[in-house]
Symmetry: C2
Subunit: 505 residues, 2 copies
């Protein structure tokens, strides 16, 4: 998430350190109050990660430290210090001894080159058992069912402006998903279409039949077909929202610092659900072919959504911003001239006469990695950020951010996968310097060097991807073989085999 | 546009006739006032279509009749009557004698099977000359330029609830585009990037240089690159908006009845711009390959935009509608039970407890051709509809409709086109019963029966497509060879050759 939140804000909020000596731009909106800064927290050793069978998310309110690494890395205190070393930037993977990650998943990570105090990426990989709520649909259609469900779960959480939100999400989001799925355990295992209506209390008769339909003529009398798949999608969507709500509630007492992008994979009943909120990315490499499994959500990709919101709710702009986009900042002396602009309805550009209110700061500005909402944040979906304000202002940014992921579904049963077919998840530290094709080439190169049944091949691949994005220290920087700069950001990668030695069938 | 606006509204507004004897559904929102009905207009012979060099759009305020056919059909009064005959449904094309349409464009149309009094589709095909405004950019960079520009233009307008909007759009939209392009004549012919800023008055010095940029470090200091192509897109987008605004202004005096979908093609400087607002469609068939050139805008495809608007501006729902979607209408006796729903953020479904306000009518309901906004209209983008209200209510629907098209660009110079490569435009009367593959097969079958340099082949193709969608009268209906029902809607088709005998290069 490097460079995606203005450094001044990030440093103040995350480390309590002095803001960097970056010159204040004359373009900043005028306001007087300072941004809220959380008190600095000394790093502590990570608390034990609660197992998947623990208490409901809402009750998990233990105090959290702002620095930890995934427990599956099994880091000793010394290992934790090495993982936190910006100078060495050692690549971390689960140890080759002991229990492997489910599906022989490969994982590797590396800390950033010094831009934030700790690695603000977090990761989670779990097998989660979902116990059904008793008789959810009133009269269970097959009483012998309802034996519970398992789902496999992988999550990457790229934090910004502090590590709290990413850490909390890595610890709790899968539990929110589990909670959402509890009502669906029977329904998902029943080949019949989901009931449209459930009784309010377990045991009461359901109304899943169609006898209450009105006549078939009018548009609203038809009954939409709802698939089992769309119920899982809805469960994941609502889990993201509840996770975000929990962060809002607990942000004072528990110091949920900053926010995070979330990229999550759920495997359930033959299908892979990839849910993304932010600028992490997932691709499938299948027989050399690249299948994108996510889309990035940034000020550029969501420009029209943001502008529409600013247009419909101008109070959210606080009189400081304009919802219009200009190719560059408008200068006061250009009043009355005509400048190119785009509004919330346009993808093209046109000229408009500059008026006084066009001199306000644009809601969306900048390009590529420098694109920003309200001159502050470079991603537009994710979890947390409830305290985030415009720099030197009290104006909240959260209303423009969405906690909802886009969920793509991949049916694992529709294709005979081979051991070299993989789903690759990476935070933007990987993708900023690595193209899809380069990832596919690395997949081919690394996996072909290992026996197909060697379970360590996916970890080796994850390490190769992280190393390839980090580069090696040379010429006062981390550089790639082509001498371009490597990623100075935190880099985290999961490699999930789709047809390998995993025993998920 | 058949079936896309509730019949009751359509009949009242368009023909002044009695509403059909369709039973009032108990599901209709409760309200007392009747929908506004325009006085009936007797059909008149179509007034002469003004040439493309006429007055500016804003001044074209002559009174219009609600029934006319495109002037390029050159229909005599008798021909006009035959074209208006629901029983015969004769296919209409420009006469094979006299001046052909530009690019030897093929065109065919047929009236509906009786669902509306007249053919509510309209079409336009023009070559439009754009004279540049003098010295738009202050100091022209090459004074010898600025000789004006020509663009080729095709438009299909599928009216609903009356023919006025479609007729007006077919007569004026290309002039709005011309007006928007006038400022760009010099800029588009200049190989330099467009100036970001123009002087307010012609002759004053421009500020297209980058000397006013602030430092390069901050996100808002960078200068976006704006392409010539995006200026044309912006011009088309704004032309649609101005056309819609003109309809709003003139709707009382000039009886601009109903609304219309608009599918427009502009060819300018080597590129084809396809702008679509509604449910007409355009595809390119190139060497047998199908390239979609538009997307449909319906209550289903725009569900989340509509729900978001209803959520952010609940006053637009008038206390009668809920922005939530349910798989079917919620019954009062289901209060307290849990029903599947989706909100503006969700693509999946989840269960929620039914509360009193969920008993309101859903903003978006129905599926496929029966999908509706506010139980009334089945398309969500287009021109007009300023008078459209919820049936038996005063609640306006226009705030939920967008007049902005989606514009796709196809670079004609990037591919060596052959005479069989065509761009096919059709109103939904074509596409409701014809798949893309069937269109491609008809393209192949018809064009291969003609010499490549026979200019009549594209008209023959358009006729074959219309005939194939209409079918023949059999078994009390218009039926296709497979005995399925043909389209009872108005059907209009343009076939634009991309590499044929047209002299557009």
């Amino acid at each position: 998430m490097l460079n995606r939140v203005r450094s001044a804000v990030a440093h103040l909020v995350s480390s309590g350190g002095a803001p960097p000596s970056r010159p204040k731009s004359p373009d900043l909106p005028n306001a007087t109050s300072a941004p809220p800064a959380a008190p600095p927290q000394a790093p502590r050793s990570p608390p034990a990660r609660a197992g998947s069978g623990g208490a409901a998310p809402a009750r998990t309110v233990e105090a959290r430290a702002s620095f930890s690494r995934p427990t599956f890395l099994q880091l000793s205190p010394g290992g934790l210090r090495r993982a936190d070393d910006h100078a060495g930037r050692a690549v971390q993977s689960p140890p080759d001894t002991g229990r492997r990650l489910p599906w022989s998943t490969g994982y590797a990570e590396v800390i950033n080159a010094g831009k934030s105090r700790h690695n603000e990426d977090q990761a989670c990989c779990e097998v989660v058992y979902v116990e059904g709520r008793r008789s959810v649909s009133g009269a269970p259609r097959e009483p012998s069912r309802g034996q519970g469900l398992c789902f496999y779960y992988w999550g990457l959480f790229d934090g910004h402006a502090g590590g709290g939100a990413a850490e909390m999400a890595s610890r709790l989001l899968h539990r929110h998903i589990r909670e959402q799925l509890k009502d669906l355990v029977e329904i998902l295992q029943d080949p019949l279409p989901p009931p449209l209506c459930l009784p309010s209390t377990p045991g009461a008769p359901g109304s899943s039949d169609s006898s209450q339909l009105v006549g078939p003529q009018s548009c609203w009398s038809s009954q939409k077909e709802v698939t089992h798949e769309s119920l899982v999608v809805g469960a994941i969507e609502n889990a993201f929202q509840l996770m975000d709500g929990q962060m809002a509630r607990e942000r004072r007492g528990q110091q949920v610092e900053g926010g995070c992008c979330a990229l999550v994979v759920v495997y359930l009943l033959g299908k892979v659900y990839v849910a993304n909120a932010g600028d992490s990315r997932a691709i499938i490499v299948r027989n050399g072919e690249i299948i994108p499994m996510s889309r990035e959500f940034t000020p550029e990709t969501e420009r029209q959504r943001l502008q529409l919101l600013g247009f419909l709710k101008p109070e959210l702009l606080g009189g400081e911003f304009t919802h219009l986009e200009f190719p560059r900042r408008v200068q006061p002396k250009e009043l009355g001239q005509r400048m190119l602009y785009r509004d919330q309805n346009m993808t093209g550009w046109a000229y408009k006469k500059i008026e006084l209110e066009d001199l306000r700061f644009p809601l969306v500005c900048g390009e590529g990695k420098k694109a920003r909402v309200m001159a502050t944040i470079g991603v537009t979906r994710g979890l947390g950020d409830h305290n985030l304000r415009v720099c030197s202002s009290t104006l909240p940014i959260k209303p423009f951010l969405s906690c909802f992921p886009e969920v793509r579904v991949y049916d694992l049963t529709q294709y005979e996968h081979c051991p070299d077919d993989v789903l690759v998840l990476g935070t933007d530290g990987l993708w900023d310097v690595t193209s899809d094709c380069e990832v596919a080439a690395t997949v081919d190169r690394v996996l072909s060097a290992y026996e197909p049944n060697d379970p360590s091949r996916y970890t080796a691949l994850a390490q190769a991807l992280v190393l390839g994005a980090r580069g090696t220290p040379r010429d006062r920087g981390w550089r790639l073989p082509n001498n371009k700069l490597g990623s100075g950001d935190d880099i985290s990668v999961f490699v999930i085999p789709l047809g390998g030695p995993g025993s998920y069938s």
